[in-house]
């Protein structure tokens, strides 16, 4: 018996085919995990199955849910399934809750209006469910007062309140650290009853292992491999899947530290940082030497980026000194941003931007070509704008841009958090190369302890301060996203 079966789903944007015919089945009690390259069509596939594609795209194929068969192009037909048959768990849970309504009512309204409970009963049910998820106090709070994990749980409760047995979750752990990731996985599995279904899209192999069930690997809109999750992960058949699994930091070999330490490029002594009236870093002392990689870890919102800003002189420390090695140009200190798209001028072609930098630093134009080759980038990319190249490519272009300024130090702020494992390995590998060959000092920020362990010569772990960092960080996200 199948809960859902989708046959020959394609998605087109005009003439361009974004998802090739893909078929899949969901069975009761057995989760399905979809892995794949960035931009391979995972989200579009899920959206086509749920009838939630953006209006500009066209889908074909058939979807059978429960007793009825629907045509993928007939979006209106899916309406009746939402909430009652399919619980849709969106990618960004804190953006999915109405910012102006308290959490409780957002769950209760589905009980009342979808499941048809009377108002008082709906309120009680919502309160019970939230309490069961460990959220007794959250019911009366607004979304911006919830942490990411809390918002995630509220969204799950709200999505399922209508009584749907089938849960579809698109990257539910994006941007979360390991502990929080496991919480979410546990929650999704707990919601999966014997007769229910679960479909999870992710880049994260650890999450895939936790979920189990069956696995499907996508690339360029087509299925590369399917099978039981544990089987595929332990014995991948397709080459791409093998690469993917091999690219997991878990399987990286540890970097060999250069024998002799270079000279100090940057020193921070007794550094104390505060932001928004909150002490983030207290009396930190560190030294960055040429050719060495310093790992910086710590939970979300603990001040990793802020520390970088202070080291680069973008943020004035409350106390302490930062000394740069004598004789280095101000532009010898560069940064790689967490989100590379945001770090390029939106409207300018990439080539133009790079040429501007080369001209400013009196670098010969051939230098760009040389670096492109070294970073294994196609020169055709230069005629595009930042939004039109992939994340991995852009991160490498960012590195290229920084290299044009002849840096001695690079602060790499979570440079791979949005990338799939293969692209992630490429970028990190490049950084390590640069440290070795060019003698760069690098500070690498990541929330993945394994990655840090494999690459870095030494580690600086920022502790989580007491207080409500969690909440604050979420509210920041909300504000930038909505405000």
């Amino acid at each position: 018996m199948t809960l859902l079966s989708a046959t020959d789903i394609t998605v087109r944007d005009g003439a361009a085919r974004l998802v090739a015919p893909v078929s899949l089945e969901l069975h009761p009690g057995e989760p399905l995990v979809i892995l794949g390259e960035t931009g391979s069509g995972k989200s579009l596939l899920a959206q086509a199955i749920m009838g939630t594609l953006p209006a500009s795209l066209r889908a074909t194929g058939t979807v059978r849910i429960g007793g009825c068969t629907l045509l993928a192009e007939d979006r209106a037909a899916f309406r009746g399934l939402w909430g009652r048959q399919i619980a849709v768990l969106p990618q960004e849970p804190w953006l999915s809750l109405d910012p102006l309504m308290r959490a409780g009512p957002q769950v209760a309204e589905a009980h009342r209006l979808v499941a048809g409970l009377p108002a008082a009963a709906a309120r009680n049910r919502a309160a019970e469910e939230l309490a069961a998820l460990g959220l007794d106090t959250a019911a009366a709070r607004y979304p911006h007062e919830l942490s990411g994990g809390m918002a995630q749980r509220v969204a799950i409760a709200a999505a399922r309140a209508g009584g749907a047995s089938l849960v579809i979750a698109d990257e539910p752990t994006k941007g979360l650290d390991a502990a929080r990731r496991d919480d979410v996985a546990a929650l999704l599995l707990a919601a999966l009853t014997r007769s229910g279904g679960l479909l999870v899209i992710t880049h994260d192999l650890a999450l895939a292992r936790r979920i189990g069930g069956r696995l499907m690997v996508l690339r360029d809109g087509a299925v590369v491999e399917t099978g039981a999750t544990s089987a595929v992960l332990s014995a991948p058949q397709a080459a791409y899947t093998r690469d993917l699994i091999a690219a997991d930091p878990e399987s990286w070999s540890r970097r060999v530290a250069p024998s002799e330490a270079g000279q100090a490029v940057l020193e921070a002594r007794n550094l104390t940082l505060s932001r928004g009236g909150q002490r983030l870093v207290d009396g930190l002392t560190l030294e960055l030497r040429a050719g060495r990689i310093l790992g910086i870890t710590g939970p979300s919102g603990c001040g990793k980026s802020s520390l970088g800003d202070a080291l680069l002189g973008l943020l004035t420390p409350e106390r302490g000194h930062i000394t740069r090695a004598r004789g280095l140009a101000p532009t010898a200190f560069q940064k790689l941003w967490q989100d590379p798209v945001a770090a390029f001028p939106r409207t300018r072609r990439l080539g133009q931007t790079l040429r501007d930098v080369a001209r400013l630093h009196a670098a010969p134009p051939e230098r760009i070509g040389g670096l492109l080759e070294r970073l294994r980038l196609d020169s055709a990319l230069l005629s595009r704008r930042p939004a039109a190249v992939s994340g991995g490519e852009l991160q490498r272009l960012a590195l290229l841009r920084a290299m044009l300024a002849n840096p001695r130090f690079i602060f790499a702020d979570e440079p791979t958090s949005r990338l799939d494992p293969i692209t992630q390995r490429e970028v990190i590998g490049l950084l390590a190369d640069l440290a070795r060959t060019d003698g760069l000092a690098i500070a690498l920020v990541s929330h993945d302890p394994v990655l840090i362990d494999r690459v870095c010569d030494e580690t600086c772990s920022l502790p989580m301060k007491r207080g409500e960092h969690d909440t604050l960080e979420c509210s920041d996200l909300l504000r930038t996203a909505i405000g």
Binding site: W82, L95, D98
Partner: protein, 309 residues
């Protein structure tokens, strides 16, 4: 709390600005104030050198600059606006009378415009690019292109002369409000329909709006429970700004329907060089704007707890 403090600072600066600007500008106006005041008082048939001299002697208009300015600001901060140069009545009493008339008119107009504009705008915003959306764009542009005096005239012609439902002009009874308020409201509605439309289109594009539907709520339920709530915040913020636009309309409408309000008084005061009246009126309008916006800030903060801006 910070809302109120920042608005308080704004109010203070408004007062200073009004004080200094009215004083400086009215002093630097071309021509002679005594003459203008005399014309305002005695009318064009009777203004002559003797009348201007009498005014000059009575008001001591030839005093030195600085002393007059300091005296002026001092009085201003004691909320003593002095006496209207034209009518001889205390400014505060005149304004008190007129402000009431204008305020009710303005409120009636805003109320009416809210009944007309946002519902249409929301309907259009739900389906951006639809025929209804485009029609609304054309109609609201047309409403903006008809000057308010013409709008008032058309309404009088239809509602009073042809249908005989409403009085053409006058002041005093509730029925006198309807026509001028309507004339003002149509212009405002044209604009706030656009605002509501854009806000609604924005809200519809938000992930939470989709998510609410994915929970299983019907379109109407989502609109009612999530759409309106989220549209109301930008609409409310815009409403605060609208009071400034309203002043322009009020001036025109008041002079066409014979409404004893502050806009009408303002025009007369500027012409007659009635400095205390101009200052009092401008200050009242400015402070009124600040107050309305403080209220709106508070209200918006209640609806939207994420903190102002």
């Amino acid at each position: 709390m910070t809302i109120l403090v920042s608005r308080l600072v704004q109010a203070l600066v408004v007062a200073l600005l009004v004080g200094a600007a009215t004083f400086a500008m009215m002093r630097s106006l071309p021509g002679d104030a005594a003459w203008r005041i005399a014309a305002g008082r005695y009318g064009y048939d009777n203004v002559n050198a003797a009348a201007a001299e009498a005014v000059r002697a009575e008001l001591g208009l030839d005093g030195p600059w600085l002393g007059a300015f300091l005296q002026w600001m001092g009085d201003l901060f004691r909320l003593d606006f002095g006496v209207s140069l034209v009518s001889g009545q205390p400014v505060i009493a005149e304004i008190g009378h007129q402000l009431g008339a204008s305020l009710w008119l303005a409120l009636a107009a805003v109320g009416l415009s809210l009944v007309i504009g946002p519902p249409l705008g929301i309907l259009a915003g739900l389906r951006p690019g639809s025929l209804f959306d485009r029609t609304l764009l054309v109609v609201s542009t047309a409403l903006k292109a008809v000057p308010q005096f013409l709008m008032a005239l058309i309404l009088i012609l239809v509602l009073s002369v042809q249908l005989g439902w409403l009085p053409a002009a006058g002041y005093g009874q509730p029925r006198h409000f309807i026509l001028p308020a309507f004339a003002l409201a149509l212009g405002l509605a044209a604009v706030n329909a656009r605002i509501a439309r854009d806000a609604m289109a924005g809200v519809v594009a938000m992930p939470f709006y989709d998510f609410a539907q994915w929970k299983g709520l019907s379109r109407a339920q989502v609109l009612w429970r999530h759409g309106l709530r989220n549209v109301s915040v930008p609409l409310l913020t815009y409403l605060g700004l609208q009071f400034v636009l309203l002043v322009e309309g009020v001036v025109v409408i008041e002079s066409i329907v014979g409404w004893p309000g502050i806009g009408h008084a303002l025009v007369h005061a500027v012409f007659a060089r009635d400095v205390p009246m101009v200052q009092g009126t401008a200050l009242m309008l400015g402070l009124g704007f600040v107050m309305v916006n403080a209220l709106i800030d508070l209200l918006a903060a209640r609806i939207d707890p994420r903190g102002a801006r």
